[in-house]
């Protein structure tokens, strides 16, 4: 009961141009909600995700580039909020894996085809 009628938080709104709106929406898909870790902030219901969405919209409205917003969020909440990890030494294997799998598999097929 209380939860239904709880009257909290003011919903602030920021006006964005349609292009900025798209940019913000795209960015939100790539930021992980710190509360519900499986979801992006675009999908999450958590209050913190709402704050993070507001932060993204405010910064985009102020003319910040998506990359700078990403960096700002990663600095504040840690690298784990980035759903598409940045390419660093620690994530190199992650991006190398698909390529290696493809090459190794291709080699296997090549070997298989030559057997007579």
């Amino acid at each position: 009961m209380i939860q239904i009628f709880a009257l909290v938080l003011l919903l602030q709104s920021v006006d964005l141009t349609p292009a900025q709106e798209m940019e913000a929406a795209h960015l939100m898909q790539e930021i992980r909600c710190v509360v519900c870790e499986g979801q992006s902030i675009a999908d999450s219901d958590a209050a913190l995700a709402q704050d993070m969405r507001l932060f993204v919209r405010t910064r985009i409205a102020a003319g910040a580039t998506p990359d700078s917003v990403r960096i700002a969020l990663a600095q504040r909440y840690g690298d784990e909020v980035l759903m598409r990890p940045r390419l660093t030494g620690r994530t190199l294997p992650l991006y190398a894996a698909p390529v290696i799998l493809l090459l190794a598999g291709g080699l296997l097929i090549g070997v298989a085809s030559r057997r007579r």
């Binding site: 009257l7 709104s13 909020v81 759903m83 698909p98 298989a112």
Partner: protein
Amino acid sequence: MIAEIGRFLVALAFALSALQLLAGWRAASAGSTPAMQIAARSAYTALAAAVIAFGLLIILFLQSDFSVAYVAGHSHVDKPLFYKIAAAWGGHEGSMLLWCVMLVAIGAALARFALKQDEQLKNRAVSIQGGLQLLFLGFLAFASNPFDRLLDVPLQGAGLNPILQDPALAIHPPTLYIGYVGLSAAFSLAVAGLIEGRGGRAIATALRPWSLFAWTALTGGIALGAWWAYYELGWGGWWFWDPVENASFMPWLIAAALIHSAIATEKSGNFAGWTAFLAIMAFSLSTMGAFLVRSGVLTSVHAFALDPERGLWILGIMTILAGGGLTLFALRSGKLGNGDGFALTSREAFIGVNNLLLAAVAGTVLFGTLYPLIMSAFGVSGISVGAAYFNATATPFLAALLIFLPFAPFLPWKKDGFNRRLALRSALWILPGVLAGLWAFLIDASPVAIAAAAFAGWTLAGVVTDLWHHRVLQGAAACFSLTGRILAHAGVVAMALGAVADSTGRPETVRALAEGEQIGIPGFTLTLDGVRRADGRNYLADEARIVVENGRVSELLPQRRFYTAADTTTREVAIQSGFGGDLYVALGEPRARDDGEIAYEVRVSFNPMVWLLGLGALLIVLGGLSASIGRALNGRRAGMMP
């Protein structure tokens, strides 16, 4: 009393599985007919015991017998009848019992239907399946028994998560489990074949129908889960690359690769080792799926049951399955025999590319899902791998699959088959490809999505040509097989186009609306007409009346529910489906705005052409069923190859 009988039956099934393991082994080694009969009868009796045990668990739920811990934890007297029954498999212990029922059913089915012409291999497979039953029934009896009693009997059950009270989610786990556990048949047959030193062809022939059926059920189960996520979780998404979703996607990919590679192995002996390897991996990954869901090692929105101790058990089972299976594979794969080899544009080569891409996606998903875990084992934390990574890496591979798909049905086995006729034929596929690409371009798709759409159009034309060219095939079996192939491939095209439409980003707006206020997204104007109470049997609810205008006027009634017993709030979204897509409205929390009005957060999105995804899944399932029927008809005429 009922719970004690249930306990006894689980123990009985466990003991009978041990008998099935030993007698089946003896039957295979000594060719003993009495031993074979003992193994078969153990399997049938174990099935009867497991099914009755499951029935008893349902009765305990119907009686709301809260002296049983599992019932107390997952039911409530106020719960609707259907969900009391569904709760029997809604939690860990019950779902594990269901898993065991299916595992034992596969054991009985192997004993009854498999391999009439090769009893030695069949007995070995029945024995191996008995071993699998022993592992999982042991886990059930000792570490997660649904019939455990409580010392302090509560007056009321702890209910069940209300978002799980849903028809699609009630049938989602059983369907998924038929798929997961069905793959155990392929595992047992492959392991039995390796032990017996059978050639790759015999193994592939034996495991094909089982894999096909299991894969079909897995497709249906995953689709039901995605559908549920779409309309129940209220986020408007259908696939989140969540670890638990990935856990079901990996065996699906591997099984999809398996049903294709097994065809090539059966025809020409090529990919013999690879087929056996996939059969072992498919069930191992299914078990890992259960491990990921149930152990809570990975943080996930779906991990409703968190229990590391049980995870340890499943990890042990995993080690035996994957470790044992792969060790056996390494020792014995030499006996599978080499294939005849194949040319660059033979059907084998294209099936090889299909397998390469499917396995690469599965490998990437596996690596991506486990990477944070691996890195944290090395003390590196803070790495997160999410949807954006999987979309960037897996999607191009899946799109590439479509380029090669339409050629395969026109290519001969072993020999080069790319001739002038096929070149001319494929030229006809270009125009539909261009049109589909153009469509994707017009709906503002990303470059990868435009390419995927073009490939999908190309593939659709190829599938139609396949149907046209092969329609004259003789016989009912060939007819069902062809229909299966056409439907499943058309389903893949529909899913690809649906995913492209979805990837264009759904127009979406969230706004706090007071009564009488409007919210708009391109093409629609929505007015919040009013909010009223709409309480149900075990929940309180606010229901908004939202008037939709898009040329004509209609209304949508999204709800926000508060389940008193579970102390949980859920959202019942309202969806208006049309050809162009779904208008999707969710009602959020009421708030006081700075102008003093009470406003409800209303979230509106338009999800383009979601029906394509549903249609695709349906076609794939129908295709799988049709191909299974074709397989069964074929099996009747013993010795005849399709």
